[in-house]
């Protein structure tokens, strides 16, 4: 069955994570991989919304930020155990997503883009201006490390396992949703909202549901980020950050879970490589982004597969 291929790849994934986790001694590489993991979570979350359900969001960093700020405030200001702050952080993002999602998701195209962008800006300004609670523009200091019972995740290695464990669970979760009745309904909205409705899919409700789910995943990433860096500031969750998440999804390839992983990796690593260009970094980054979209609009992973099949086809003849 199809499930077997799935299990093989999960197994490979787990082995890869374990190999990397034990063999990498250099904290820098672990840290890089942790960031890749966090970005993968973000890309996965947006991919559910954008890749599968076809709804653009240009304000997704807001949920990332809500996750981070809620846990920061609870654990630091109110001394709540981090593990108890987790449901609050994720839940807060879900509630906000639900409230905002109902009117916003009625919009489509650029209007939806603008609506989510405006929402993202408002949340960002809130983080910046509500300084008595959020620490304002200078940021929020002193977030404690993550403790779950006897486990304290204060080393890069332990955090690496934690983050990639969450990534793996999220991948399995997304996979299961996509391969289920709900997932098919989601994809049907993407392929044709009219036809989906005509088949009995409650498109409005489902769009809000997936928005909430997506917000929850982004908030999870925010939660992990806060307890990784012990410090958060509004700049991390601004418009540029939202656009970066969108870019990861699109570059990796929409509606593809491994594409999200790939896009997140690439966009985390690219700036590291581009340091070599120093002053030219931005120019090169912009060029890469444009070229990928012009020549491989389905993203790099799909694009390469497409080219491979085209090549195969032309040789079969």
């Amino acid at each position: 069955m199809y499930g077997r291929a799935q299990k093989i790849i999960y197994a490979v994934f787990v082995i890869a994570v374990i190999i990397l986790g034990w063999s990498l001694d250099n904290e820098y590489y672990l840290q890089l991989l942790i960031f890749i993991g966090l970005n993968t979570l973000l890309a996965l979350s947006l991919n559910m919304l954008m890749g599968y359900a076809g709804q653009i969001s240009l304000g997704h960093a807001a949920f990332y930020g809500i996750g981070a700020y809620v846990t920061a405030i609870l654990t630091t200001t109110y001394n709540v155990e981090p593990i108890l702050a987790l449901p609050a952080a994720v839940g807060a993002a879900m509630i906000v997503a639900w409230i905002v999602g109902i009117p916003t998701l009625r919009l489509s195209g650029y209007y939806l883009g603008m609506g989510t962008l405006g929402f993202g800006m408002i949340i960002h300004i809130l983080f910046r201006e509500w300084s008595s609670v959020t620490g304002g523009a200078s940021g929020f200091v002193g977030i404690p490390p993550l403790e779950i019972g006897p486990l304290i995740f204060d080393s890069r290695r332990s955090y690496f396992f934690l983050v990639w464990g969450v990534v793996l669970l999220s991948i399995i979760m997304c996979r299961r949703i996509i391969d289920s009745r709900v997932g098919r309904a989601l994809r049907s909205i993407h392929d044709g909202e009219k036809a989906a409705a005509a088949i009995g899919v409650d498109t409005k409700k489902l769009k809000v549901q997936v928005f909430v789910l997506s917000a929850a995943m982004a908030a999870m990433a925010g939660f992990l980020y806060a307890h990784l860096i012990y410090f958060i500031s509004p700049g991390t969750f601004n418009f540029v950050a939202s656009i970066r998440i969108v870019t990861m999804v699109v570059i990796g390839g929409m509606a593809s879970i491994w594409g999200a992983l790939f896009g997140a990796s690439l966009l985390t690593l690219l700036p590291e490589w581009l340091h070599a260009f120093s002053e030219f970094e931005m120019v090169v980054y912009g060029l890469i982004l444009m070229s990928v979209m012009i020549f491989l609009p389905r993203g790099l992973t799909r694009g390469v597969i497409d080219i491979y099949y085209r090549y195969r086809k032309s040789h079969d003849k």
């Binding site: 650029y110 209007y111 603008m114 201006e129 870019t247 570059i251 912009g286 060029l287 979209m293």
Partner: protein
């Protein structure tokens, strides 16, 4: 009273800037159904180009202005030719990423050319601020308002009086119908890019004396302009103008009567409400695109 007048002046100055930028967005959207997220960067090019031509090359104001606008418009057309036209499946999301990429590229290029510093630029005319009932308005603000009015009127006439302008409207109404009639739609799209980025350059040039331009000035201006365009109704000339001025004035009043820290939020909250209640904007109508 004097304060309210001063807030209005402040709002008018900012509003005029937003308006010109919004017009650029709106015009391009009406012709091509595309939102150019790099639009703010063209504003930056306009402002810095103006600085370079006047301070750097010592050109007089007027030729520098026209040269800047023409140069940026040419850059915009080049952008269309190289990065937009080759796209085979122009879906919104692909175009968004391309224009975002372009905005990063242009910002990077701006940094390489002009460095990271802000520049100063003398006002167009050396005139002390003008006093109206105790409220003061900068001479440059008047320049801005005058130029915005002239440019808007010129655009209006272009769309209403010239064959090319009408052809562009026709393209906006229905690309297919325009094509059948014999209008070269590709050229019209190219032209729309040139005009739109040219408008961006106008915005950049006229605000250069009051904003102290730098390579990273474009992003926020672009966002605000986008907001204004949506606010007034995407695809409508007067909507963009109205949206720009409303946004500017609301921000100024927001500072005056609410809190200066939350003025940006106020603008975006209002925008969301407009989107929820009337997605087509204040002046836009859902089905007719008209410039």
């Amino acid at each position: 009273m004097q304060e309210i007048l001063q807030y209005l002046f402040s709002g008018l100055t900012n509003g005029a800037i937003y308006a010109v930028i919004a017009v650029g967005f709106s015009m391009l959207y009406s012709s091509t159904d595309l939102i150019n997220f790099a639009h703010g960067e063209f504003v930056m090019l306009g402002a810095l180009g103006m600085v370079s031509l006047t301070a750097g090359f010592g050109l007089p104001l007027i030729p520098a202005f026209f040269l800047t606008v023409a140069g940026v418009a040419a850059a915009g057309m080049l952008f269309e030719r190289l990065a937009i036209r080759p796209v085979r499946h122009p879906e919104p999301i692909v175009l968004i990423i391309i224009t975002v990429g372009a905005s990063i590229f242009l910002r990077g290029a701006g940094m390489l050319i002009w460095g990271k510093n802000s520049y100063s630029m003398p006002p167009f005319s050396d005139h002390p601020p003008i006093d109206f009932a105790g409220a003061r308005l900068l001479a440059q603000s008047i320049w801005i308002l005058v130029i915005v009015t002239v440019v808007t009127a010129a655009l209006h006439l272009f769309y209403r009086r010239t064959l090319t302008g009408k052809a562009m409207t026709a393209c906006a109404v229905s690309k297919k119908a325009a094509w059948i009639v014999g209008i070269p739609t590709k050229w019209m799209v190219l032209l729309a890019f040139g005009l739109s980025t040219g408008m961006g350059a106008v915005a950049g040039a006229i605000i250069s004396p009051i904003t102290m331009p730098s390579y990273d000035m474009g992003t926020m201006l672009g966002l605000k302009g986008f907001c204004a365009a949506m606010f007034g109704g995407l695809g409508s000339l007067w909507g963009a103008i109205l949206g720009g001025f409303l946004l500017g004035i609301l921000e100024a009043l927001g500072v005056g009567f609410v809190s200066s820290g939350l003025k940006d939020a106020a603008a975006f909250i209002l925008l969301l409400l407009v989107l929820y209640v009337r997605p087509q904007g204040i002046l836009g109508s859902a089905d007719v695109k008209r410039f």
